[in-house]
């Protein structure tokens, strides 16, 4: 619909024509049903006097059941399931535990402190993988080194895995095969009568020193139906919702302790300016459609996952509208019956940093297969110390699964072992690519829309029109 060539030429002709004489053209935005499922990510009465052992124990307990089911399906019930303490040398068995990847180059506070006197500034690394990394399997009381047919480079810490193999004489466990939790069942997708779309954008980075206001204003004008001819407006009216998936404020607005703030009398903090600008942007959007605002890595909310919604008092103008929703960072909701699950990208970025996976869509697929949104939490990704639950475990399979703030737009149709069909999406940063993503809820197609301002070729012509 959006990308049809004939329609595009038709649209172009309509744009360059005289204004329509039909004054009674009244377009109304369609609103689908909405149900939020973010309750498990809300932190009520947070208590930080706990260690993370509870979170790992809980994760193992919950996922062990499903991993064992998956193991039985794959290898049958003849091969016995053993705990690590019950292993005997040479016996082929199945063991379930948490994977731990021992990485030499992983930033370690103990190493930093012990080497304090001889600290050389280390260059910032993009990934911390190394040839000498080893995989270790842990259960409640013991751990053992894994060798054999398992790929160390693409594995990450925190995944619950079932390995089949045997213990060797040197104490290591030789892996023949392995498997993960099976992907949970997916609710059947409702059949929608008409095309309904949602728009997802991320990485607005307002308040920074990079000027993206023109592209941003174009995006707002497009989504509120101010841009384009009647045909465009009719199409935009079927966009039911906008999701702003994190990093709405630029990292430079995070007032760092090193910067001397308020040196001059009338200087305002960057963050205040940034939030005011964001409020103005949101006001234009919420007046016209439902907007879900997620927090991201550079936004003023708690740093650890799950990030809590940005506070309403920061957006005095936009918060007055009932179409304004501030939501948690892993975000899960039913839009027109379609289950949507997504994050602001910290989980995917962290996995890419600590493993050899560098394709964000592949990482999304892997997290689905591992059955966990953010397995590296709490090891390298900051996370709240839960004791009674692990809300990042996937309990139902979504229809749309996205990770925002990635370098580029990518999409993939993933098919699960039990016929689950998931649309995997990576949403690019708007401040770098000026691109937002439109998803068709009826057919689960998606395409990007770019508002990039291409500067003309630098051939010395001055574009200053006021001259």
């Amino acid at each position: 619909m959006f990308g049809d060539v004939e329609k595009l030429t038709e649209k172009a002709n309509a744009l360059l024509s005289d204004p329509s004489t039909d004054r009674n053209l009244h377009l109304e935005r369609c609103r689908g049903s909405y149900e939020s499922h973010c309750e498990r990510f809300a932190l009520m009465n947070p208590n930080f006097c706990r260690q993370y052992a509870h979170l790992y124990a809980e994760r193992l307990e919950q996922q062990r059941v499903f991993v064992l089911l998956s193991a039985q399906k794959k290898w049958g019930s003849r091969i016995p399931v053993r705990k690590l303490s019950e292993l005997t040398v040479g016996e082929k068995c199945v063991v379930v535990g948490t994977l731990f990847k021992h990485m030499e180059l992983k930033p370690n506070i103990l190493k930093e402190v012990s080497e304090e006197h001889n600290l050389l500034p280390k260059p910032p690394r993009r990934t911390f993988t190394d040839e000498a990394d080893t995989l270790i399997l842990e259960d409640e009381v013991q751990r053992t080194v894994l060798v054999g047919d398992i790929d160390v480079l693409t594995s990450v810490t925190g995944v619950i895995i079932a390995v089949m193999g045997e213990e060797q004489e040197d104490g290591h466990f030789r892996v023949d095969e392995f498997c993960f939790s099976e992907l949970p069942a997916q609710l059947s997708r409702p059949v929608l009568q008409a095309d309904a779309y949602i728009a997802i954008v991320s990485g607005l980075n307002v308040g920074g020193h990079v000027d993206t206001m023109l592209s941003l204003q174009l995006l707002i004008d497009y989504l509120t139906g101010v841009l384009g001819g009647e045909n465009d407006q009719a199409e935009v009216a079927s966009i039911t919702r906008l999701i702003i998936a994190g990093n709405s404020l630029s990292k430079s607005t995070n007032d760092s302790a090193n910067k001397t703030k308020y040196v001059t009398r009338h200087a305002q903090a960057d963050s205040v300016e940034g939030v005011k600008a964001l409020d103005d942007i949101l006001l234009q959007l919420v007046a016209s459609m439902d907007v879900d605002l997620m927090a991201g890595e550079s936004d003023p909310t708690n740093f650890m996952l799950p990030q809590q919604p940005l506070h309403r008092c920061m957006f005095p103008q936009a918060a007055k509208y009932e179409t304004f929703h501030n939501v948690t960072n892993p975000y899960e909701a039913d839009v027109s019956g379609i289950r949507l699950l997504g994050t602001s990208g910290q989980n995917v970025t962290d996995i890419c940093r600590f493993s050899g996976n560098d394709d964000p869509v592949e990482v999304l697929e892997k997290t689905l297969l591992w059955g966990h949104l953010a397995p590296t939490a709490p090891d390298t990704l900051a996370c709240y110390p839960y004791y009674n639950e692990d809300p990042f475990i996937l309990t139902s399979c979504p229809h749309i699964y996205f990770a925002a703030n990635q370098p580029s737009f990518q999409c993939k149709n993933f098919e699960g072992p039990a016929g689950q069909k998931v649309l995997l999406l990576t949403i690019p940063r708007f401040s770098e690519t000026s691109t937002c993503v439109i998803v068709n809820l009826r057919s689960l197609d998606c395409h990007p829309i770019s508002f990039e301002m291409r500067a003309p070729a630098a051939n010395g012509i001055d574009l200053d029109v006021d001259k």
Binding site: C49, R50, Q51, A57, E58, E61, E140, V141, Y387, N388
Partner: protein, 123 residues
């Protein structure tokens, strides 16, 4: 401390469990007799039995709770209350002993029963 002349150090710093309301050991050095009074006061909540029997029951209960804490089947114990750990074990169908829950609930205001063994060590 060197001022306390003839009494052995084990009488001055007698090993007792720290309970709420008891002053610290150093300050108590002069008030040695007061400790048994405080202990007796805390016991008036239970049924009137002779003091020795009550002490034995209490020790057995605390021993049971300590074994519950140390049983690795129910998961880590530090940082959560015993009741929370019991509920979590029940949720995962590890069948924690009902007696443990009864003991905790009957002494629900006493930190010695509700909190785990390592509670005072601030980990």
């Amino acid at each position: 401390m060197s001022k306390q002349s003839s009494r052995p150090i084990t009488e001055i710093y007698k090993a007792t469990r720290k309970r709420e309301g008891i002053v610290t050991k150093v300050e108590n050095a002069g008030k040695y007799e007061a400790k048994s009074d405080i202990k007796a006061k805390n016991k008036t909540e239970t049924k009137p039995k002779c003091e020795q029997e009550v002490a034995v029951d209490e020790d057995q209960e605390l021993e049971l709770l300590k074994q519950f804490d140390l049983d690795s089947k129910f998961g880590p114990c530090i940082g959560i209350t015993r009741l929370e750990r019991w509920e979590r074990a029940a949720k995962h169908r590890h069948i924690p002993p009902q007696q443990v829950k009864d003991i905790i609930l009957s002494h629900h205001e006493d930190q010695l029963y509700t909190q785990c063994l390592w509670n005072e060590y601030h980990m």
